[in-house]
């Protein structure tokens, strides 16, 4: 056992903030009413859900009536993609997405493909950036939807969302943005951006797991994928997860504070410290993704002549939690589709590592991670036939 524990996998999930947890607690055993009931218990629960909706809407500059709560980010992505195309399929059967999406989007498009839609997948450049010129070229008269992530979960690249939104608006195409990694971490306003739909997830911003949200601009119509009691304007039936929704609201409030008080800048400073240290002290270690246009909490690398899983497990043994897009961590034999889409060779992509910082990450944590990574890379390279043949 190691004494020090450094969690650097906040892209995977975050701890529920203490204040968020406290806000949630009464809604399990005290305020347990069903928000749809007419009695006092129900009215109190309804009020809590409404307040949470206001807070989540405030985070992204939306009106509360434009926020639909779901059972997580994946469900919100599915609702946006399947629900909007189902509504518009008579207008056209062509849809567009990108090569670096999360599986929740990628596989929803795969499902559309099976339903007879024509799917175009936009490429990215070596920094994982989508080109809006490519988007313009891909649009056809029968295009009905474009879906693109706000920021990539593996390499952190932030996409030209506003530019893409303008193109979609001019061409009359619905634009969905998977904002799971960006919401609460990158300041933005859905009105200024001009997007039609945007996915959020509570557990990526110090809220609970199992709660997500879909921003649906006023006037955008989607067909529900969960039918039943007609909750959430009939777009997501099922008794509201009151405690979870309250937690999402509290997490959104926390995010608004963090975006305003300089916390995000401090996180970016620590991220840059880690990037600088790793790329300067470790030979053949390079940053993946965009050098500046990237998530403030995410540092991702490829380490030459090494395989990701072996580095992860050695880091884990030193009390450090990180992640990798190598084949061995995915359960398949292929490395991450994101790294391959960026044009990285298989052998390079196998050596990927991702560190995602959190609100409690300290400079000491950064130094601890860098020192351990340096040691682990040296130890594993002593075992690697690829490394020796170079030297």
């Amino acid at each position: 056992m190691t004494e020090r524990q450094v969690y650097m996998d906040h892209s995977a999930t975050t701890a529920v903030d203490r204040g968020v947890l406290e806000a949630m607690l009464p809604f399990f055993s005290e305020e347990y009413g069903n928000p749809n009931s007419l009695h006092a218990w129900g009215r109190r629960a309804r009020k809590a859900v409404n307040e949470a909706r206001e807070k989540v809407a405030a985070l992204i500059g939306a009106d509360a009536s434009e926020v639909i709560f779901t059972g997580g980010g994946s469900e919100a992505d599915n609702l946006a993609i399947k629900g909007s195309t189902s509504m518009r399929k008579d207008k056209g059967r062509h849809v567009i997405t990108t090569a670096i999406e999360h599986h929740a989007v990628m596989d929803a498009f795969g499902w559309l493909d099976k339903q007879g839609f024509d799917v175009t997948v936009l490429p990215v450049d070596d920094k994982a950036l989508v080109s809006v010129t490519e988007l313009e070229k891909a649009i056809r008269p029968d295009t009905i939807l474009f879906s693109m992530m706000f920021a990539n979960n593996e390499v952190g690249t932030i996409q030209p969302v506003a530019e893409a939104a303008k193109i979609c608006r001019d061409r009359g195409i619905l634009f969905h943005v998977d904002g799971v990694q960006a919401a609460g971490h990158v300041p933005f306003n859905v009105q200024d951006l001009g997007v039609d739909m945007l996915t959020m997830s509570a557990h990526k911003m110090y809220g609970p797991k199992g709660v997500g949200g879909l921003y649906l601009r006023k006037g955008v119509r989607v067909e529900p994928i969960v039918h039943g009691g007609g909750q959430e304007r009939g777009l997501r039936s099922g008794t509201e997860n009151t405690a979870g929704i309250v937690g999402f609201g509290a997490a959104a409030e926390l995010a608004v504070r963090r975006l305003a008080d300089g916390s995000i800048d401090e996180e970016a400073r620590l991220r840059d410290l880690l990037i600088k240290r790793v790329t300067s002290s470790i030979e053949e270690a390079f940053l993946t993704g965009h050098p500046t246009q990237r998530l403030p909490f995410l540092a991702s690398f490829c380490i030459g002549s090494l395989e990701g899983e072996s580095m992860l497990l050695r880091l884990d043994a030193a009390g450090i939690g990180a992640s990798s897009g190598s084949a061995c961590t995915s359960g398949s034999l292929e490395p991450s589709h994101v790294l391959l889409a960026m044009g990285l060779a298989h052998e390079v992509a196998h050596g990927s590592l991702r560190f995602s910082l959190g609100k409690d990450t300290t400079e000491e944590d950064i130094v601890y991670v860098a020192e351990n990574l340096e040691r682990i890379v040296a130890d594993l390279r002593a075992l690697s036939p690829l490394w020796k043949t170079r030297g």
Binding site: E307, E309, S310, A317, C328, P385
Partner: protein, 132 residues
Amino acid sequence: MYTEKVMELFMNPKNAGRMEDPDGVGEVGNPRCGDIMKIYIKVKDDRIADISFETFGCASAIASSSMVTEMVKGLTLDEALAISNKDVVNALGGLPPQKVHCSLLAEEGIQAAIEDYRAKQKAKSGAAAPKS
């Protein structure tokens, strides 16, 4: 996901590192798939007198390399050739299904090293024959 034995050998692999002047070298796998195993052997009286490995790959590839080198050390070449990937998996206390190919590399690595040794011997005796 991994057994204690796999983790133990992954953290502290035995017979790791490059060998100077080996009698035989076998290299299997390819970097595209994320696994390369290189086995070095020294042979004395038809037995594996010394062995080491270098492996690029995941924890199970490194543990499989370590395990197979321990298993074949001291064996005759034919005995070593009879070691199968199943023997390696069993000795490790099991591997997750998607990692079984790592143990196959271990089996193939030993075979490749022995083949290389035998080919070199043959070349030597072949080259020596006309002179004698």
